[in-house]
Amino acid sequence: MSHGPCDACEELLQGYLDRELTDAEVAEAESHLGSCDYCRRRYRFEASLRQYVQTTAAERMPAGLMEKLTQLRSAGA
């Protein structure tokens, strides 16, 4: 059974997460994920980490900033 560092696949799975792979590479990544338990676990982890970083690091615009930006308009509101 496949276990242990699957170094060759890491880069492929990053591209897969970013949806930046060609169709052929997507097929390759999915076929690997289908057969490698180690990478499948890590892929799921990476996907949830990405999502988590995105939500925790997102900070809404402070109240009042929109007002300041609107005042910068030269065409007038």
């Binding site: 980490l49 997102a58 809404r60 900033l65």
Partner: protein, 194 residues
Amino acid sequence: MGEAEPETEGPRIAAEARDRVRFEEEALALADQVYRVARRLVSTREEAEDLVQDTYGRAFRSWRSYTPGTNLRAWLLRILTNLNLDRGRKVQRSPDMQPIEEGDYYLANKMAEAQGEQALDQERVVEKLSQDSIVNALSSLPHDFRDTVVLVDIGEFSYADAAQILDIPIGTVMSRLHRGRRLLKQRLAEEAVS
């Protein structure tokens, strides 16, 4: 003489005013998304607010150089990252250490070691990382890496858009992203399993 005919000049001015108002409205509608990226490129909320204000000031002045129909959010972020580069970026410390690079799965492996391989299947395993640790880890990245990671992971820009915004080749976006994320996970791992 070169004076324009009033009957042709009037409609032209009116059309331009309409285009300008439309541009400003579209740009303002993106302010929250622009701020989100700005906030993670600088250390404090005040700096982010200043940066966004400077960006909109410049955007409103040079609105004619925007090509309607192209990606306005990327256009605004291009102004923002250039302004950020101009202002005080050299003053900020730029880490000169050559970190030992771990693999992409470094954090996953560390968490699997600490909590067992099965723990990785749980969706909530990443929530063991605190919001502060993520924000701190992001801000500790060397600038070039951080800009790329923030644009792609927080701003959700494609590699191609990030390349255009930062004025670097796509291959450089990919390598900075790759190294930046590895570093991020290395820093998170230090905290998560310590």
